[in-house]
């Protein structure tokens, strides 16, 4: 259509009539940003009157910035320290608002002032600069290569292989030495990841002639009776009794991080114990490791109706009635199960988890 248009336009221009109001097409920019997104007024001869006005506006912003900083300092010295300084959330919030607000005011006002200054008052003109070639010409490269080789020759490095090779030999272990130094960063894994404090605690209890170690509630450390946990559908986090006392002080958190266990009361008729673990539950009360087998978040949510244990990190879902089998999500293994029994009315664990808890690892098998 445009070809035709051009022809008509060329041949019969004089007699054409223009219909409607022509839009100022000449000024219609196709592109939002030409190359003039730089200072609008800059580079031109400044009109002194409007420059004066701009200067006053800039000055106003600078004064505002001044006021902001002064207010900041004044608040800090004069007001934030009243009644003995900061204490608690309210005063922290208040101080945060005032200090942050005045600081922001000061920076932003100054930024605005500078921006207007650049746009309205700077008289610099855009300039053009040549780009230069980075690379040296082939000749200089060749000369350099020659010099380099000459140096190597002068040093004897190229002519004396024995020197060269022994030097390399000497350097190689030197690079390794720092790595060796890092050895004491931590112990070797050994069998550490294969057991939890439940094992030690059960052993200790058995030495004392008991069936197993009592489960205590995480937080209160109260031993748990079967009757305390009789309501179907409940879930609670438990630890082996005595974990805080039996473990060196700085190891407590680490041992707790491995031993945390969830205790769930699932309806006994729905419960399908795994083979060989028929007597690991007590009337439908089962215990699983709380550490998700995906990457180790606490699998802390339990849905009563579906009997699903849910890990909030990446939503791995385990079936509490079916040996904590994975029903959904990225975890590949069931949560390890803790063998339970009753002793004097108290829930006890009769052994450690039969397999390593938590995320899989190469040596796990």
């Amino acid at each position: 259509m445009s070809d035709e248009n051009k022809e008509t336009a060329g041949a019969q221009e004089p007699r054409e009539r223009v219909i409607g109001t022509p839009s100022p097409a000449r000024d219609k920019a196709l592109l939002a940003d030409g190359d003039m997104s730089a200072p609008a007024g800059a580079g031109e001869q400044l009109d002194e009157a409007s420059a004066k006005r701009a200067e006053r506006i800039v000055a106003l912003f600078f004064l505002l910035a001044f006021a902001g900083s002064v207010a900041f300092i004044a608040y800090y010295i004069g007001w934030s320290g009243r009644d003995g300084g900061m204490h608690g959330v309210l005063r922290a919030r208040e101080s945060n608002f005032w200090l942050g607000g005045t600081m922001a005011l000061s920076f932003l006002a100054m930024a605005a002032g500078v921006t207007i200054w650049v746009r309205r008052l700077m008289a610099s003109k855009p300039i053009i600069q040549e780009r230069h070639e980075f690379a040296a010409d082939p000749q200089s490269r060749a000369v350099f290569a020659e010099d380099f080789m000459a140096g190597a020759e002068d040093s004897g490095l190229t002519k004396r292989p024995l020197l060269r090779r022994t030097l390399l030999l000497a350097a190689a272990p030197l690079g390794l030495a720092p790595l060796v130094l890092l050895r004491d960063l931590g112990p070797l894994p050994e069998k550490r990841l294969r057991s939890t404090h439940w094992g030690d605690a059960v052993e200790k209890a058995k030495r004392q002639g008991k069936k197993g170690v009592r489960l205590v509630v995480d937080g209160t450390h109260r031993p748990l009776k079967v009757t305390d946990f009789a309501q179907v559908g409940s879930m609670i986090t438990v630890l082996p009794e005595g974990i805080e006392e039996d473990v060196p002080h700085d190891q407590v958190l680490t041992q707790v991080a491995k031993a945390v266990t969830i205790l769930i009361n699932v309806p006994e008729e729905k419960f399908k114990p795994a083979e060989g673990r028929e007597n690991w539950h007590v009337n439908g009360i089962v215990a699983y490791s709380k550490i998700c087998t995906h990457v180790g978040c606490p699998a802390a949510l339990y849905e009563q109706t579906t009997h699903h244990i849910l890990c909030p990190c990446h939503q791995s879902t385990f079936d509490a009635t079916d040996a904590a089998k994975v029903v959904f999500g990225p975890a590949a293994r069931p949560l390890p199960q803790l063998p339970l029994d009753v002793e004097d009315g108290y829930l006890v664990a009769t052994g450690d988890f039969p397999e390593p808890i938590g995320p899989s690892f190469w040596e796990r098998g």
């Binding site: 942050g100 922001a104 930024a111 500078v114 990841l193 802390a300």
Partner: protein, 540 residues
């Protein structure tokens, strides 16, 4: 311009330096350095200034922060946690928040600055990618940029973990799980990182050293190299009237750019102060100290970790156990592959492109994204891939918002991460080609003027007028597809790039790169002589 001499207060130190260093030559040469102007060029500056703000606020925090996991009983001014056992790290962070004036502000600015730092680096990288600014001779700075983003992720992860609150402990636990999944050496890395089993007592002091010394030092080194290379090579420029491969056009460093960039710094700091003052971030006192048995169900990492989170979530639970060993593909793949593809791919891209196009020239004038459709489409595919994984990191929120099951969202994302990028590629390429056609049209036939003409026969046509010179230059900046050099040259010697199976692949990719290119050019015969208006020829 002005004949005046500098005041003594300026001249004296300058002379002092010059006498000893000969610095005047350097200053003279660089004072008027030209900075081309485009809004997108400030993204890198924002990243730089965020980093400076991180250094300043971070240094403030170190004055009170205690990187120690020794257990203490809190007795500070936050009443709700009084008497609670916690690590010294957590207690000192509470102290900074509630007992140090301006401490909460600095913590919040620090955290917001970390988020802005990463976001502006990413935005900056995208602009560099889509305009082709990474091309020779600027590949090194492209690689440095990728290095900085990766280190920023680590730096952020460690910083987030320092306060030892419930969320940061959860992040560390995931780090532990990921470390364990590494074949062969996983458990060793785990033990060596934590100084024993999780959490132990070494990890916070170690991360502290990494967070305030080693990684910032490395980033600072990279930034310095980045800036020096940029300064030496000069900026690229968007294709406009005065920008060519031989020259840059713009305002001089002193005084214009200096003032402008100063204003950006102030803006960045101002906005971060505003956020720090009015937008609460990481209120660690609400989460409580780390407790290995507890978790907050709404835990979300900082945004730049979202991709890892999303990949971990949607990965099927594959695990291989054989010969007494376990390979956790369900952790290993999402932890390494997606970011490996995106950042490894990004690092290799300039060299791949060079190999495919055979274009070994220097480029100082950028390409408009539409004029490199395959590049732009690949970039959009990567953005889609990254974006989908990122959203998948909040699939529970998505499920909740749109009232679909978690199960459904997970499966949706499992497919979408593969199909989405392909779709994005196709659509983007279409759009680019459409825009090229439009450009070709404007150059060939001018722009619609809005003036309707009625011919004597009564036909209506719209008058087309040539585009303005500035616009024509931009449109004509497109480099049209060049016919590929024949596989065998005149003397029968095969072109070096077309030999063997690799050469074959190269020529096929080369064809794919440009086969549907729409040439944007002036037609010499029916050129715009017959169009109205100024008849300057565009400079090229």
């Amino acid at each position: 311009m002005s004949e005046s001499t500098a005041p003594k207060a300026v001249e004296a130190p300058l002379n002092f330096l010059d006498d000893r260093l000969g610095s005047t030559t350097f200053f003279k040469r660089n004072m008027k350095k030209v900075f081309p102007d485009h809004w997108s060029f400030m993204l890198g500056e924002i990243a730089l200034y965020s980093f400076i703000i991180l250094l300043l606020t971070g240094t403030f925090l170190t004055l009170w922060f205690k990187p120690s996991m020794v257990e203490v009983v809190y007795d500070g001014s936050y009443t709700k946690l009084q008497g609670v056992k916690m690590s010294e790290a957590y207690a000192s962070t509470l102290h900074i928040s509630f007992d140090v004036r301006g401490g909460l502000l600095m913590r919040q600015i620090h955290h917001w600055a970390a988020i802005l730092f990463m976001a502006s680096i990413l935005a900056h990288m995208l602009r560099v990618f889509f305009t082709g600014a990474y091309r020779k001779p600027r590949e090194l700075n492209w690689l440095i940029g990728i290095g900085m983003f990766t280190m920023g992720m680590l730096e952020g992860l460690f910083g987030y973990s320092l306060p030892d609150d419930l969320l940061s402990g959860t992040g560390l636990r995931i780090t532990q799980g990921v470390a364990e999944s590494i074949p062969l050496v996983g458990t060793y890395i785990y033990m060596f990182l934590f100084g024993g089993e999780f959490p132990g007592t070494d990890i916070v002091p170690r991360m502290y050293m990494l967070h305030i010394l080693l990684i910032p030092g490395l980033i600072l080194g990279l930034i310095t190299a980045h800036m020096m290379i940029m300064w030496h090579q000069k900026h690229t420029a968007m294709p406009t009237q005065h920008q060519t491969e031989q020259q840059v056009y713009g305002y001089p460093f002193y005084p214009v750019f200096m003032a402008k960039t100063g204003a950006y710094f102030l803006f960045t700091f101002g906005v971060l102060a505003l956020l720090g003052a009015f937008a609460q971030i990481n209120p660690i006192w609400l989460f409580g100290p780390y407790d290995p048995g507890a978790i907050s169900s709404a835990s979300q990492p900082d945004w730049y970790m979202g991709v890892l989170e999303g990949s971990l979530r949607i990965m099927p639970n594959w695990e291989i156990t054989a010969w007494g060993h376990t390979l956790s593909l369900n952790v290993l793949i999402p932890a390494l592959l997606p970011l490996g593809i995106v950042f490894g791919g990004a690092a290799a891209w300039p060299f791949i492109e060079q190999w495919v196009t055979g274009d070994k020239r220097h480029h100082h004038v950028n390409t408009r994204p539409r004029n490199a459709p395959v590049r732009t489409a690949t970039g959009m595919a990567a953005v889609t891939f990254y974006g989908l994984l990122w959203i998948a990191g909040a699939n529970d929120v998505v499920a909740d918002r749109f009232s679909v099951s978690l199960f459904a969202t997970t499966w949706f994302f499992r497919f979408a991460v593969f199909l989405g990028p392909v779709l994005a590629f196709i659509v983007t390429k279409r759009i680019c080609l459409g825009l090229q056609r439009k450009d070709a049209d404007v150059i060939g036939h001018g722009v619609e003027s809005g003036i309707i003409l009625m011919s004597p026969e009564g036909r209506f046509t719209e008058r087309h007028e040539p585009a303005r010179e500035e616009e024509r230059v931009v449109l004509l900046s497109k480099e049209n597809a060049r016919p590929e050099a024949p596989a065998v040259d005149a003397r029968g010697v095969p072109a070096p790039g077309a030999k063997g199976p690799l050469g074959h692949l190269r020529s096929r990719l080369n064809r794919a790169w440009q086969f549907d290119d729409v040439p944007v050019e002036e037609h010499a015969e029916n050129g715009h002589a017959e169009l109205e208006g100024d008849k300057e020829t565009a400079r090229h």
